[in-house]
Point group: C2
Chain length 473, copies 2
């Protein structure tokens, strides 16, 4: 009899698992339950959709439901919410329009994803308050942008260089959160002529990156007329009396806004797993082994609902990002079809573009986090040219590199440059070093590609390794 592989959640991890399983086994029965109507979509593209660089939500979909059903022979059931798992009976119960379906499984993958964290403050439910966790969130926000622009009859070409000083500037709007979603949305909204106020609780944006990167990005945001409020925890979103947001309130300020976007991170959707007795790990996400199997045999977890193992610390970590979801989902698809495959660890690598600046981070940069993992972190920050000094154009690349004092082991890096000058792709070298547990002395000797249009003879990553190595020697 044919095995049945049931998947809960039809985004990156779920559909990567389904597709891989199908490629490996043409007989396997594959059933995917997806609560919404969209599957396999690039949520990372939503800010660019809101910005207007991407014309339709459909463009974010890499494979359509019809293609999954017809070309890949996957029993994809959209509009089905799984409400219970019975690991003893090996069944899941799904609901659609009030009707229950009970589906048995041989292998089960939980790919329930994450949901936006909404801070516990007054006003988050007001009209004009948005999040950006789902396709429908993106649609709503894009519609708001289009309405606001129409009502102001504002063309992008009319925007002055200092929008907030102009009479016909759209907005203002508030963005709550200075992580990568907040920053990408600040760009998306400012590019549409909005006066944007970015509120960040911490004293710097992109707290997961180095301070040098945070400063470079914040400076660039300010250059582009985004008002960056640091150390500004939002206390309340104020009601205009008619149920619509009219201001963002912090301890120090009351900033009038016409709309607010909340981008304060996500948390794993774990309720279903918890109810079924599936263990969560120390991070609060679903715990899974190297093969992504949970404490319950034949039940796997992958993507934004699950933990992963950090390649530097060897400890559990929660880094909900697209590549991990894809990779872990794919590994599960391979494992359940007979080739046990490890999903690999995560290095906490992330990239962001903010207007004309790009930045990446990888590994452990936070001193406390490094110390907790038993390291004695030492960091150096250098700035070097993105191309040979004599070569036309180019700019600066600023690299912060962190290593363990005793062992010299590379712990992490944060890089920032103009967009197109390679901070993000250069981080690939550091990821290679992290994956190999290489020392800064080894990294210093990496034979990286060099030619004048691409770097100085020592790529900025190598310059950072030289300087940090010099300190540790």
């Amino acid at each position: 009899m044919t095995d049945t592989f049931v998947i809960v959640g039809g985004d990156a991890a779920g559909m990567a698992a389904a597709s891989k399983a199908r490629r490996e086994d043409s007989d396997l029965e594959i059933v995917v339950f997806e609560k919404g109507e969209w599957v396999s979509y690039g949520a990372c593209g939503l800010p660019y959709y809101v910005k207007g660089e991407i014309q339709s939500l459909e463009a974010l979909v890499s494979v359509t439901p019809e293609e999954f059903r017809e070309e890949r022979d996957i029993d994809l059931r959209t509009g089905h919410e799984v409400v219970a798992i019975d690991p003893d009976d090996r069944t899941v119960t799904a609901v659609r329009d009030g009707d229950e379906v009970v589906q048995s499984y041989d292998h089960l993958l939980l790919a329930t994803g994450a949901e936006s964290i909404v801070p516990p403050i007054d006003g988050v439910d007001l009209e004009g308050v948005y999040t950006l966790g789902s396709m429908s969130d993106g649609k709503e926000l894009r519609e708001y942008v289009a309405r606001a622009r129409d009502s102001e009859d504002l063309q992008q070409a009319d925007r002055g260089p200092a929008c907030r000083y102009l009479e016909d500037c759209t907005g203002p709007v508030g963005v709550v959160g200075g992580g990568y979603i907040g920053i990408e949305m600040a760009e998306a909204l400012a590019a549409n002529g909005f006066e944007v106020h970015l509120f960040q609780r911490s004293d710097r944006v992109l707290t997961g990156f180095s301070e040098a990167t945070s400063e470079a990005v914040a400076d660039h945001l300010r250059d582009r007329e985004v008002v960056v409020h640091l150390g500004s925890e939002v206390r309340e979103l104020a009601d205009d009396g008619d149920g619509t947001v009219e201001a963002v309130v912090t301890a120090a300020d009351r900033v009038p806004v016409e709309a607010a976007l909340i981008g304060t991170g996500v948390r794993p959707r774990t309720g279903l797993a918890e109810d079924a007795g599936i263990e969560l790990g120390p991070t609060g996400a679903i715990a899974a082994d190297a093969y992504r199997e949970t404490n319950v045999p034949d039940v796997y977890a992958a993507g934004d609902c699950a933990e992963a193992t950090h390649v530097v610390t060897g400890e559990s970590t929660y880094v909900p990002l697209a590549l991990t979801a894809n990779r872990h989902g794919r590994a599960v698809g391979q494992t359940v079809t007979g080739t046990p495959t490890e999903g690999g660890g995560v290095a906490g690598t992330a990239a962001v573009k903010a207007f004309d600046v790009e930045a990446a981070r990888t590994g452990i940069l936070d001193r406390d986090e490094a110390r907790e993992a038993g390291f004695d972190p030492v960091s150096e920050t250098i700035t070097a040219k993105s191309r040979a000094g004599y070569y036309p154009d180019g700019g600066d690349v600023t690299v912060t590199l962190t290593a363990d004092r005793d062992s010299g082991r590379v712990l992490g890096a944060s890089l920032v440059s103009e967009y197109g000058e390679g901070a993000v792709h250069r981080s690939h070298a550091v990821v290679g070093a992290l994956e190999a547990s290489a020392t800064v002395f080894e990294l210093e000797n990496y034979d990286l590609a060099y030619a004048p249009p691409f770097n100085t003879t020592w790529d900025p990553v190598l310059v950072a390794a030289k300087v940090l190595g010099g300190e540790l020697r």
Copy 2:
């Protein structure tokens, strides 16, 4: 008494050693003998100087002789040719204007560099035949370009898209050799309005890269109106009767030219070492251990005159490139001042820009070379998008990845993309894998940075690893 560190050759390796030694030891006596007048110059920048993107030769000099002498307290003796080494007496003999100087040393570094290989054919000494090994070569070629352009009264803006069909096209000129120097010079000359004929003995350009890269670059050269003659060994440079080149002659063709550039590689300058009983390795370059010490105690060799150890094969190899020269020179400077420092291996990593295309290669790609080193090479070539499919602009990245069938170990890669779309910096990931002797399965799990403006969720390097891993599994 103070030690004396003598260096023969004042370019990358020599001056990196001198500078590092000075930083580590302010008392050391440091003497550098340089045959010419230029030191520490970026020879890799010469094509861009000839092209006209760099306005002066001086711009290629990172540190001037005066700065070395005055700011770094280095006894730099330009115009001094070292003619003999006596390892027993620990002296070198240098000549300047016929006068001999004998200098004793405690540590000696040979950094004599490489010289252009000129094929043993008739006509290489004719007027109008150039090489590009030195600053003076670059100067001569730039002067030729300027003269030719003046005489034709050709402005770059006047150039039609198909120069060779225009009456007022400058040239034609022949470029002999389809390696990176030949290709960079084809760009430099074509950009100045010359009709360029590129002659390549092999059936593809950039033979050290993958076939896919070679084809992409050759296609792009043709798009830019460079006439690419493949499988065209040059038999003769024909004399116009007045001692000036008038044609490039191959077995199949006789192509009229007004000038010819020979870019057929370099060979190490080893005469001085050989005369002193210093051993050469199997590649014909000076042999040195991990610390760059030769068979003669306290005599080191670094840069384009010396071999290095290949990180993949562990065997001696000869890859004369700028980063290795800098790194090995620097390591020697550190070693002779009391901190024994390994120079690190080489992966044969190289990068090239050809008009609007960029390419990189690293590791072992040649099947025969891989087999000789005991591997069973398997390759896959994939093409993926440089940015998320829905993200504006971007282009294709083509990656060839080679691994050993049995072990899965990554052996090498070749990448090509539009300039700015990251083929070169993405190769950093593969270099990391090579330096760590990682398998393609490990590379597939590298947690590389992802965001829509920079790659697809799986960076093209990861796509290549997935596909190749699938074949090996």
